[in-house]
Structures are given as C-alpha cells and as structure tokens.
Amino acid sequence: MTATLETTVLSTVDTAVELAGVRKVFGHGNSAVVALDGVDLKVKPGEFVCLLGASGCGKSTLLNIVAGLDGATSGSLQLNTSRPAVMFQEPALMPWLTAARNVELALRFAGVGRLARKRRALELLKLVRLGDVADKRPHELSGGMRQRVALARALASTTVSADGAPALLLMDEPFAALDAITRDVLQSELLRVWETTNTAIIFVTHDVREAVRLGQRVVLLSSRPGRVVREWDVTDSSDAVLNEINTHLREVISGHAS
C-alpha cells in the first residue's frame, strides 16, 4: 500500500508528461530566487497525479511551465499530449459570455466550426451537470457552478486534438476558494469526469486529504527551492498514508523555521 515509486521503470512510450531537471530562477544576481531546482516528474496518460506542497514550493510555477505559460530556466519538458488545459483557483470565466459561450470560446480558438462547437459545448456542460444553465452568465451562477463551467471549458480545450493524443488537464488549487460541502461535491464530480474522459490530470494542492482522496499518486515538493521530496502511491488510500504524508509535509515546513 505505501510504496515509493521507482520513477525510472516507466518507459517513455507510455508517458504523457516528462519533466527532467527542470529549474526555474526568478530575478537576477543577488535578488534571484530559485523556485524550482531539478524537478523530475513523469505522468502516464490518464494518470491522476497530485502535487503537494506548502506555500513557496513552486507548484504553481511548475504547472505554468507544463502549461507553456512560463518557460523553464533550464531542464527539459516533453509533452506527448494534446494542448494542456489549465484550471485556476478562480473560475476566470469571461463575464460577458454565457456558460455555453465560455466553453465554446476554447473550441473557437482551436478552430472548431460553429455547429460542432455548440454541440460539443452542450455535451461538456451536461457532463458537469450544467446543461440547464447553459445560457446563464457567470454572475448568475454560484461559485461551485462557475468552477464546473471552468472545468467544462478546460476539457473542451484539451480534448479537441485530431491526432488522438492523450488529453492533459492541469489544475491549480481549483477548489481552494470553495466552501467545504461544495468542495466535497466537486471532488467527486472531478473523479467521475476523470473516469469518463480518461484525461491525465496534474492537480496542485496544499491539502493532504484532498490529494490523497483524488490522486493515484501524490508527489510532495519541498519549499524554496522546490524539489521532489517523495512520492506515494495512494490508489488504496488509508489513514496510515494520510498520516505519513502529513508528517513529511510538516517536516518540510518546519525545516524553514529559523
């Protein structure tokens, strides 16, 4: 049950994402801050990986690099997937567009035709059980509903590739701003969507319980600079793993008390 993974046994053929020695430095000279220092990470197609770490561990930076929103200072990134989709802590829906049109926007940028766009957007909204509010605007929806629209939009942007490359969804603490009950519901919603779409997911969180509940694998990052401390296979999650990860996270954080 509790096993540290041998990352090297994975062959490159069944790898969706491969990061090797990724390093990211912000600023220059004396004021330079090393956010990531030699991060190696492999994600298989359809795998659900949770990146866990305290503040300042560079988990968002890592996600931005995989998303192509930010470049690494050194190291290599290899993607064998379609365009990665990103979900942020805020839904970041376009406030002037309806829920359906927000989802369609992702398809429009991918060059999908109008009719196909409409059909696919409604399909995805139904997948997150929002088919009834497709023509509502973001301000008319609750926080949880907005985040589900954002999920549908993210799925739209990653599942359109024609060559059948596996999909990849990057999530940056997407449920952190929601209340406990809504978060609980959305977590199970996400698991259901993940099982039906077979999308690889990299999910960033600082909540151990969330990481263990959602992920198949939990990767713990250290803070300043961010490095991979340890990995756990959590497909059969138990309280023992939860406690063990918690202990390690506390160690990482208390290491910074001076």
């Binding site: 998303a67 970041a92 002037w96 926007l105 605007r137 609750s142 609980d184 519901v185 199970s188 509940r213």
Partner: protein, 290 residues
C-alpha cells in the same frame, strides 16, 4: 471516502437547486414609468415655474429674461418654417461625421498606447493633457491654418473627442483582470484572437464610457467652433443660430438655441448611449447603477 458517491450526487443536485438564480419578476410598465419617467417631468415643470415666476416679478428687463411662452413661440416658429430642422441637420451631421472619424482615429491609437510601452511613455500623458485643454483653444489656430471652412470645424471636433475616446479605451484595457488574457493564452488564443475575443470585449465598459464622453466633447467642441467660426459658406448650424441671436439682441432666439443644443445632448444620451451602456453592464451583472 467516507460518503458514498450517490449520496454526494444528491447533495450536489441539492446545492444546484439552491443555487439556481431566482428570476426577479419585472414591475409593470406604468410602475416603471412612475419611477423613472415622472421625476424628470416634475423637475422640468418646477424649472418652468421658477422661470415664469422670475419673469412675472419683472426683476430683469424683457430683453434679458423673456417669458417662457415667447421662447416657446420662437421654437414653434422655427420648427414651423423648417428652419429648426435645417439648423439641427447642419450641426448634427457635422457632429456625427466628426465623431465617427474620431472613433476611427482614437481606437487604434488607444490600443497602441495601452499595449505598447514606448508609445504610452511617449504620448500617454500628452493625451491626458489634451483632454483637459478646452478645444475652443484650437479655434484661432485652426482658422489660421484652414480658414473659415468645414476643415476648421472638423479639426476642432477631432481635437475635442479623440483624447477622450482613446483615454477611455486605455482605461478599459488597464482595468482588465490579468487572469483573463492568461486564460486566453492557456486556451490557445494567438495575439489577434486574444485582442478580438478577450481584450476588446473585456475593455468594453471603459471604452463605452470613453465613447460617451467623446460624443459630449465633440458636440460641445462643435458648438464652440460654430459660434466663433461663422461665415455664409458654412451654412447655419446651431452655433451660428445662437451667434445670430446674440448679434440681433434676440434673447428668445438665444434661449431657443440653447434649448435645442441641450435637447440633442439629452436625446443622443437617452436614445443611444444609455441603452448601449445598460445592455453592456447588465450582461456582466453590473446592475448596481441601473
């Protein structure tokens, strides 16, 4: 883990049911009219009453303060002879053409200032300064450059409205939450697609405020230009009409002209900008001011 999934589904459905927005029912037509239409009518009636009272008290001679009725008669006369329409048309088509030209110049200018750092550093504050320069100040120079021709009038109108529109667009773009263009990039939008589908619509409220102010500036600049630059070849616009009234010592004509100038300002605001602004703000849930 602890809660079985089907129970969570039910909880989710319950949350959704609770979260579905309640449609606010609309008040009947007459009630809305009572709320928004009646107060300005009362205010106008009060103003007329005060005016009539002042006139009746005979504090000022008739050539300075006429009775409301004689001004009304002058208006009716000029409308009856068709003079009012030709005057309005002369001024309105100048203002509209000038405004359209201003929009065409100011929109790319605003985009450049907002998105290109060097351009902003170079002419950003100049543009803000121009906005506070009364456009009448351009009339003497324009007359020297272009003579008393339509070019002078259009030049003054442009100098009045271009800075407002460009500044409105810049402000609109500056106020876009940075997350939105980032989402656009994450969704695979190129620079052009991002400008068209994210930046411009996101900046629309600010842009619209700039357009509104730009229209007001182009209308008042036009009036200033028409009052100062008068010549037979320019025809009679509202400004000339006002100028003529003053030259003829005809206070009825002067007040009628001011009334018409105001009427155009209020009319354009009510018929064009107010509905546009409402539609844009309502779509974003910004209904506080409506």
């Amino acid at each position: 883990m602890a809660t079985p999934p089907d129970t969570l589904d039910k909880v989710g459905a319950g949350l959704d049911a609770l979260d579905v927005p309640v449609e606010a029912h609309k008040a009947p037509m007459w009630r809305r009219f009572l709320k928004t239409g009646v107060p300005p009518i009362i205010a106008f009636a009060l103003l007329l009453g005060v005016w009539q009272g002042l006139w009746a008290s005979a504090l000022l001679p008739e050539f300075q303060l006429p009775a409301p009725l004689t001004v009304w008669n002058e208006l009716v006369r000029s409308i009856g002879t068709g003079e009012a329409f030709s005057i309005l048309w002369t001024s309105l088509h100048r203002a509209v053409f000038g405004f359209i030209a201003a929009v065409l110049i100011a929109t790319p200018l605003g985009l450049l200032i907002a998105k290109v750092r060097v351009v902003r550093a170079a002419i950003g504050s100049l543009l803000t300064g121009l906005q506070s320069l009364p456009s009448v100040a351009w009339v003497p120079a324009a007359i020297l450059w272009f003579g008393v021709t339509p070019s002078t009038i259009y030049f003054v109108v442009l100098m009045g409205s271009v800075p407002s529109i460009a500044n409105g667009l810049v402000a609109g773009i500056d106020q876009i939450p940075p997350l939105l263009p980032r989402v656009g990039r994450a969704l695979g939008a190129g620079r052009l697609a991002s400008a068209r589908h994210i930046l411009l619509p996101a900046a629309l409220p600010g842009y619209l405020a700039g357009l509104k102010q730009g229209w007001a500036f182009s209308w008042r600049s036009l009036m200033a230009a028409e009052i100062i630059a008068t010549s037979p070849q320019l025809g009679t616009g509202l400004g000339q009409y006002l100028h003529n009234g003053s030259s003829l010592n005809d206070i009825n004509m002067v007040i009628a002209a001011i009334f018409l100038i105001l009427l155009v300002g209020i009319g354009i605001e009510l018929m064009l900008f107010r509905p546009l602004e409402r539609a844009v703000l309502r779509a974003r849930g910004l209904t506080g001011a409506l």
